[in-house]
Assembly symmetry: C2
Homo-oligomer: 223 residues x 2
């Protein structure tokens, strides 16, 4: 029952469902109702049923949802299993953290190469990956057609690098540069992870919470 256009809000809840289902599965549960799942996630049962019904009839009246099978359905919707390929562009600290510690396999992504311009980084080994010189990027893009570029370059070169990637057929950019990309080809999908934005939002809510409190109370954080 896959409906035409599915809203971004719905899509962004799917990974959370996945996580929760994994958790419940690990805790030994095999079935779950929209009521219980909703309570666990702070969502209404209605919303969960509405969300899932965008993609199909995964439940069963009187029973609920089978956790393993629902997990499989969502994993499928999120295209885990497509073996999308990715290249890491820029192996500074964040890039390094990703290369070393991020489980791409968990998202069904295959990281095939990493690139940097800095001589001291080129040649470094991460798992089964050796950082290549940025000169080699063009060839890899043209020959292996990776789907995703993980953009971890400096802010200064962010847009230039993005344009280059798009020109060479990259389909999606996972953007860690904290720069708003203005890439020409508009049919490239950009997913931003703007650290600063996120921190500022936290800062806002913290200050909201402290509104009304006196300076003395504020300096005394504790409850």
């Amino acid at each position: 029952m896959r409906k035409g256009k599915i809203s971004d809000n719905v899509i962004r809840r799917l990974p959370r469902y996945l996580r929760k289902l994994d958790e419940m599965s690990a805790d030994g549960y095999t079935r779950i109702s929209s009521k219980v799942l909703g309570d666990a996630m702070g969502l209404t049962p209605s919303q969960i049923r509405q969300d899932l019904s965008c993609f199909g009839d995964f439940g069963q009246q009187g029973y609920g949802y089978n956790i393993a099978s629902l997990r499989g359905e969502i994993a499928n919707i999120l295209a885990i299993n497509r073996r999308l390929t990715a290249v890491l562009v820029g192996v500074g600290n964040i890039g390094q953290a990703l290369a070393e510690h991020f489980s791409f396999a968990l998202s069904g992504i295959q990281l095939i190469d990493a690139f940097d311009i800095r001589p001291e980084v080129v040649g470094t080994q991460f798992g089964n990956l050796t950082v290549k010189n940025a000169d080699a990027l063009e060839q890899v893009l043209d020959e292996r057609h990776p789907d995703i570029a993980i953009l971890c370059v400096s802010q200064e070169s962010a847009n230039e690098t993005a344009d280059f990637l798009v020109d060479h057929g990259i389909l999606g950019i996972w953007n860690f540069t904290n720069v708003e990309l203005t890439q020409k080809a508009k049919n490239v999908i950009v997913e931003n992870l703007h650290f600063t934005d996120s921190l500022l939002v936290l800062s806002y809510y913290l200050s909201e919470k402290q509104k009304g409190k006196t300076a003395a109370e504020r300096s005394q954080n504790q409850q």
Copy 2:
């Protein structure tokens, strides 16, 4: 004209405004209309005026907005300048990337300490910060009352650590663990940066885009 409850959507656009204004300012502009700003950001002028009017009358009829002063207002709303304090809990690769390369000052946050349990990490120097043993965390929390904890510990210890932080008066958690926190004290503000969720969303949209294409077309990424 600050209205009662401001929606999360509005709040999450503020950092983007800030970034765009900085950019325009750097490019030498001093004023901007909602029309031009909207075009630059892919938003409607209406939405921008609506957003800003939640917080005050920052514009001027017939003129638009003064970039510098609007920037200041937004920075103020986001509480940049409150000198919120933060501690980094867990100095693995992501924690390290933050300690070394993230500009906390840009968000008006002061990083006062970093902690880890691993002996090989304790004592490491980052800028003017020396990683302390996790044993020392409790005392710092109780004595210096930091506002924010940047949670970069392992998934296994995420919730346990979060509970500890909350018990010791932490007001906000910037959560990098990719674990849904279930901290007891519900009046703590949690801002999540779930890498995997973000990547899965990208994966979804990529697969959507490729729907309808043949396998052959798909294997031939290029335009």
